[in-house]
Symmetry: C2
Subunit: 142 residues, 2 copies
DNA sequence: CAGTATCTTGATAATGATTATCATTACACT
DNA sequence: AGTGTAATGATAATCATTATCAAGATACTG
């Protein structure tokens, strides 16, 4: 999936008149390699090991770009810092979030998805995306 | 509903060994009177008209208390500042959020609610609350 | 290939909402 | 009324994110 992601990113850049850079390649590789919900800080620290010259702001800027071009999704949960997750190679899903340990379970229910679309339509509303988060206590914390 | 809310708030305070104050009465009244999604800043400005001596931090602190005791719900939407809405006298609902104009439509679908509980249960997860936000384009913006 | 326009970077400062600090005031209970 | 302690209000601190800007890199152009 890495190749497809790079393809998408490069197309987006040229389409917007932006330029590709060594840093962008490094940051995208690191983001795809992490393959989980990750904060900018965590990503920055992972990158720092091999590429200590890349700045925090540059990581920030490029994660925003990943979101813009559809490669990443932003997750703001409670007061935690914003997390990002790759969209390429991952089907859409929602989250069960344990309020005790913070564990995140990924789920999907096609019935709910369909009902959401119906609900939007019934309100003359054209949905573009949604966020469903169920907070509670996970198996391990009970 | 104002009386019930005050009842709940006062019980919570005494239960926690906290004290009631003139400011707390004023802030709770103003919050309940607003009766909509409101930011701390907006609430502060509303209060300032008649009670200019009440500080911003005090409004902040007490809105947090309202959330703790179940009188208010916190809504973090995108990059907007946190909004709060009263829970007393309002049934649970979810939100359709227009990405163009910011309009918020309140909705509820009991089928979705039930399926969410099933989904949680199927994952050995005990739900305590959830958040469903559907982002899209509202009727007026199409 | 060199020239050039403009984008990107990295360091750092600014921003802005939220939270902490702390001296002073006010509450609640005896 | 007296007393212990919580609450307040002004202000500072925090901290993630965003802006700034000089220096460097990139992608064309001829
Ligand atoms: Mn996920
Ligand atoms: Mn609402
Ligand atoms: Zn847990
Ligand atoms: Zn709209």
């Amino acid at each position: 999936m890495t190749n497809k992601a790079k393809e998408i990113f490069r197309s987006y850049l040229s389409e917007k008149g932006l330029r590709n850079t060594r840093q962008r390649e490094v940051i995208l590789d690191a983001f795809l390699a992490a393959d989980k919900h990750i904060t900018v800080e965590e990503l920055f620290n992972a990158i720092k090991k091999k590429n200590p010259e890349i700045g925090y702001a540059t990581v920030h800027r490029n994660v925003s770009l990943f979101c813009e071009c559809g490669l990443a999704d932003e997750m703001k949960i409670g007061t935690q810092k914003t997390k990002y997750e790759p969209k390429i190679g991952h089907k859409h899903h929602d989250h069960l979030i344990c309020v005790k340990c913070g564990r995140i379970i990924e789920v999907n229910d096609s019935k709910i998805e369909k009902l959401q679309d119906k609900l939007a339509e019934a309100n003359d509303f054209t949905p573009v995306k949604h966020r469903l988060e169920i907070y509670g206590i996970c198996k391990q914390c009970r």
